[in-house]
């Protein structure tokens, strides 16, 4: 089957798919009309029931906490998958990290990038911690704050070299932090079991609405998810950078050089 035949067949079936989609969407309530009844009720009772002001975070980590646990494990599995797929293969070795460009001299890192990167790295990390900590009060939470944290680390790489990242963290510590974040989420759920309620019930003291310490287990779960997502994205960044910069197909070596090289992973 040639490419043209395939494209023509697809265009035909896409037209049918589009028609069915539009026909199905026309059965939905018109745009701007209404909410599902659960959303309406949640908007009204969440603040009084859970002492929380960000209802989206309440839905994510309290009313539907088990679903978010599942999503978090998809994230964890994907990061583990990337680390496994990009592991050093037989026949590959590490080379000294240097910048290279295709067919031209490497331009030095511009001063503007360096100044901005260094200047913005710490405020970005601080902003990430703020977003994670205030997830139950204002828009934010563990997922967004974790990714912003990884962005702060990325700024340091942009302003410097790849080796500077290793002065910042050890890779084993980041892996352990990610696993600890995922385990903490499940542990908080089990603590609810220990106290006699169902798994993942919010049994912690609820506090006063609008304060930093309120809404029971939600700030704790936010912190756990923030640590996990932040460490996960840093690991992703590290894996991709190492693939692009460090790992190269190996020239033939003596067994001694092999052993010395392997011990550096």
């Amino acid at each position: 089957m040639t490419r043209r035949t395939r494209t023509a067949m697809f265009l035909g079936s896409a037209a049918v798919l589009g028609a069915f989609l539009l026909w199905g969407f026309s059965g939905l309530p018109s745009f701007g009309h209404g909410l599902i009844s659960a959303g309406e009720m949640l908007n009204r009772v969440s603040v009084a029931q859970r002492h929380i002001t960000d209802v989206v975070t309440a839905v994510n980590f309290d009313y539907r906490g088990i679903d978010t646990m599942g999503e978090e494990f998809i994230f964890f599995a994907a990061v583990v998958g990337v680390a496994l797929i990009m592991r050093p293969q037989p026949g590959e070795g590490a080379r000294h990290v240097e910048d290279y460009a295709f067919g031209r001299a490497v331009p030095p890192t511009s001063d503007a990038v360096r100044v901005l990167g260094l200047g913005l790295a710490a405020p970005t990390v601080l902003f990430a911690l703020y977003v994670v900590a205030h997830g139950h009060l204002t828009p934010g939470g563990g997922f967004q704050g974790g990714v912003i944290l990884a962005t702060g680390v990325l700024l340091i790489y942009l302003a410097g070299e790849f080796d500077h990242l290793h002065g910042l963290y050890g890779e084993a510590a980041v892996e352990r932090a990610e696993a600890a974040g995922a385990a903490a989420y499940v542990a908080i759920g089990f603590l609810a079991l220990v106290s006699g309620s169902a798994f993942m019930t919010n049994v912690w003291p609820l506090g006063t609405t609008g304060h930093l310490v309120s809404a029971g287990s939600v700030p704790l779960i936010n912190t756990a998810v923030g640590v996990e997502v932040g460490a996960g994205f840093v690991l992703l960044l590290n894996t991709f950078l190492r693939q692009a910069l460090v790992i190269r197909p190996e020239p033939t070596r003596t067994p001694l050089e092999e052993a010395l090289n392997r011990s550096r992973w």
């Binding site: 490419r3 395939r6 494209t7 697809f10 265009l11 896409a14 798919l17 589009g18 989609l21 539009l22 969407f25 026309s26 939905l28 309530p29 018109s30 745009f31 701007g32 009309h33 909410l35 599902i36 659960a38 959303g39 309406e40 949640l42 908007n43 009204r44 969440s46 603040v47 009084a48 002001t53 960000d54 209802v55 989206v56 309440a58 839905v59 994510n60 539907r64 978010t68 999503e71 998809i74 994230f75 994907a78 990061v79 998958g81 990337v82 797929i85 990009m86 293969q89 204002t138 828009p139 939470g141 997922f143 967004q144 990714v147 609008g210 997502v229 996960g232 992703l236 894996t239 991709f240």
Partner: protein
């Protein structure tokens, strides 16, 4: 005109599928897949919208004020981050495919993997 958000969601879905089917490059396919994913976010958020509603954050507005649906926002929120991570997984697979076979063209890969 009130049908426009749903039409845009259907359009994004179909155009993303077209990109995947007629693509010549694995990385191009992965980015088109993210366009298909974004069509579901547009659809979900359009379903939850209420005219004149505010964001469901009650720190500065009184509790009785009309707000949009928080449940669909919670669904989209985690989905955005997790979808990007799954795209990272696909990119890792594409990189390893290129290492082994030297090409990212789906047409050529189809012949080599049989």
């Amino acid at each position: 005109m009130t049908f426009l958000p749903y039409a845009v969601a259907a359009w994004l879905f179909v155009i993303g599928l077209y990109g995947i089917v007629t693509s010549r490059d694995l990385v191009h396919q992965i980015i088109c897949l993210s366009v298909v994913q974004s069509s579901t976010y547009v659809l979900l958020l359009a379903i939850g919208f209420r005219t004149g509603g505010a964001a469901p954050i009650f720190i500065d507005i009184p509790v009785g004020r009309a707000a949009v649906d928080p449940v669909v926002q919670a669904l989209c929120l985690t989905d955005v981050v997790v979808g990007a991570t799954v795209s990272a997984l696909l990119l890792a697979i594409a990189v390893q495919i290129h290492k082994r076979t030297g090409s990212l063209d789906p047409e050529r890969l189809r012949e080599s993997f049989g």
